[in-house]
Symmetry: C2
Subunit: 410 residues, 2 copies
């Protein structure tokens, strides 16, 4: 469906060099976060600042741009300028707000103009409040004496909203709140409570909070203990640094992580156990980036996750084979190898069978153990055996744990 | 919902010792096939023959039994006897018919009495025909001059059907067709075309056809080439022989197959390569039985399929480890082992990731190759290496093939 993004506001509080929508939020302009989440929609942006035009033309040439020469007439007027490009219901949002994914999931389901509201707001004084009665919004504004929710600046609009702006056309300022307020008086505005986070980025402090929200949203709830406590902290910084480059697609990062894994295996084959171990942990950290980039840039694909899973398994197999070659072939080392190699796939295999994971038998813990084992092997080769046995047992315990849980659930 | 099974018919054509519903069809009485597919429903059986009563009481004590002392009054009368046990819509079917799963999927979805009809019939002369107009049945009977479908003897009934039988109560014979015909005259009968197979088992020839239908229905469409051309032919005979014993649950058969796999591994460890190879193929054949029993007895569980997948992987890992020990440790044997062991899980892993299988890289081909390799290893140990490399390459080619297909599809 069509989407109107209002980007013609005059920044009042944040004295940055750039217009607000272009301010860097986690490696990407604020506005780009929303644009990427709107993949598949037909976007119209109303702007005033020429830098915004330049940015959009270069990065998203398919987006329709509309110039607002009277930004002081406020955002209701900005919206009105998009009138001729809208022929049906549409989404409306603010270019300088960050919205989590939840917001973008509710298109095409409302029978009247609907405000996506939230119970939370980072700056309640500055926020627009919403008063409701039953299923309808009865009032909206910054200074309501009593209110139920906060207006998030994200709307599902019926085309009739333009008729209401038309009536106010001669006013000096036409704020969107005033327009919605008028619609609400006719009982034409509903609301939908969204639990996802959002933030209107007005100050440097807001920007910091927004960075935290973005970082949280690209974490995986199913991360293992090492991923959560070590790997993610680093991988997120890498992602933040490279997310602006188109070259670093999720699949490219999968390949990079794969090669780091191969490098670790080669070091083991060459008996360089310390660099091999460290490289295995680096591989594990970088392995987080593909998913993070995919989530932040809305580039998730099924092929990507299969490709990631497969390359992870192959790299892990080769690393364990490298450990065996570094140690040499004895009955014990072969059996340890056997344990470790099945460990390299069982937790993931069982996860795909049952949908259940543990936090202690995943790849993060495995590759971390290999780093520790590799370093200790500098002092005694036997640690290579211990490492293989350790990750093997961990995986089998994890698998037994999952199977038991699955059996109980059924 | 409630289900009425009519089992009081007098066998006219098949001169068997047993009443028709108890005749052995693929190791189970005909009636048991339907009873098992009706798991979760509340079944009422109208019978005449005491052997039926005895069988049901013993095997399915929770089923309500109703005695019909006038079987010569035909099946409309049989149904009438169930009247007091029915308080709402119900399913109605014949105890001496075999129906594929499709039939049992359509409960609770019709607004009038509905005949499940078919375009196919094994014995068109004897069959009851159905004439329709739009969404309604307009006539039903054995001797219609023109007709659209065959009556399968499987109905979704509204309770009003009993009122219609009531009106015919004094007749000498009340056939179900006559009852339905009367309902149809009032426009109260719909129909639903079912594509699944069904058969009214009247003669020895019908029984043979029915056996074929059952056998086909428990095959898996995704079987590999060895499974299809060799293993299934044997496993189906095993299943047929043991399906009547409650002891042989699908999970028990999984355990049996697992132990055969372990036995194969032990033989390899003991350097008994020929019995080891043969045992691996036997394990592969028996591995078919768990799924077959689960399908035929409607005992599929998610845990069962996870349990099967996991034990298969562990058995295969150990068999390949056994092959390595039988050969001894050299760089080449370790690398071949590495190939073979990843081969033992990759095709299944990738299947669970993508939903795609190949017919040449599955377990059936792998264990068959191990049998061939084991036998040839009697002449030269080198064949153990060749076998490991062969199954390794097969799996990697299969995996590459699947990933390519998946990538193309996306």
């Amino acid at each position: 469906m069509k989407v109107v993004i209002l980007a013609a506001g005059l920044a009042k509080r944040m004295r940055a060099k750039k217009p607000k929508p272009l301010i860097n939020l986690f490696g990407m302009p604020i506005i780009e976060h929303s644009i990427r989440k709107l993949k598949g929609h037909d976007i119209v942006i109303v702007y005033h600042n020429k830098e915004i035009k330049k940015f959009i033309k270069k990065r998203f040439p398919e987006i329709k741009l509309i110039y607002n020469d009277k930004p002081e007439k406020e955002n209701g007027w900005s919206l009105y300028l998009a009138k001729n490009y809208i022929d049906d219901d549409f989404l409306l949002l603010m270019a300088d707000h960050y919205y989590e994914e939840d917001f973008f999931k509710c298109d095409g389901e409302f029978d009247k103009t609907t405000i996506l509201v939230s119970k939370h707001c980072e700056d309640a004084d500055e926020a627009t409040k919403v008063k409701v009665n039953g299923k309808k919004v009865i009032d909206i504004g910054k200074n309501l004496s009593s209110y139920d929710y906060f207006d998030t600046g994200f709307f599902y609009c019926k085309r009739e909203i333009f008729d209401y702006i038309e009536r106010m056309k001669e006013r000096k300022k036409i704020s969107l709140s005033d327009v919605i307020s008028l619609l609400a008086k006719d009982g034409k505005v509903g609301y939908k409570l969204i639990s996802g986070k959002w933030i209107d980025i007005d100050t440097k402090k807001d920007l910091k909070k927004a960075e935290k929200i973005v970082a949280d949203s690209i974490l995986k709830s199913e991360d293992g203990i090492i991923a959560r406590s070590i790997n993610r902290k680093i991988s997120i910084q890498i992602t933040k640094a490279i997310v602006k480059y188109d070259f670093f697609t999720p699949n490219i990062m999968t390949v990079v992580s794969f090669f780091l894994g191969i490098l670790s295996a080669i070091f083991f084959f060459m008996n360089l156990v310390v660099p091999a171990g460290i490289m295995s942990q680096i591989c594990s950290i970088v392995d987080g980036c593909d998913g993070e980039i995919a989530r932040i840039k809305n580039m998730k694909t099924k092929f990507g996750s299969v490709f990631d899973a497969l390359t992870d398994r192959i790299a892990d197999f080769l690393i364990v084979l490298g450990i065996l070659f570094a140690y040499g072939f004895t009955k014990l080392s072969i059996i340890s190898f056997f344990l470790a190699i099945s460990a390299s796939i069982f937790p993931s295999y069982v996860y795909h069978l049952t949908g259940i994971r543990t936090s202690f038998s995943g790849r993060d813990v495995r590759l971390f153990s290999i780093m520790v084992g590799g370093i200790l092997a500098y002092f005694s080769k036997e640690f290579l055996i211990y490492t293989m046995i350790f990750i093997g047992l961990l995986a089998y315990i994890g698998t037994a744990f999952i199977v038991y849980k699955f059996w109980k659930a059924e």
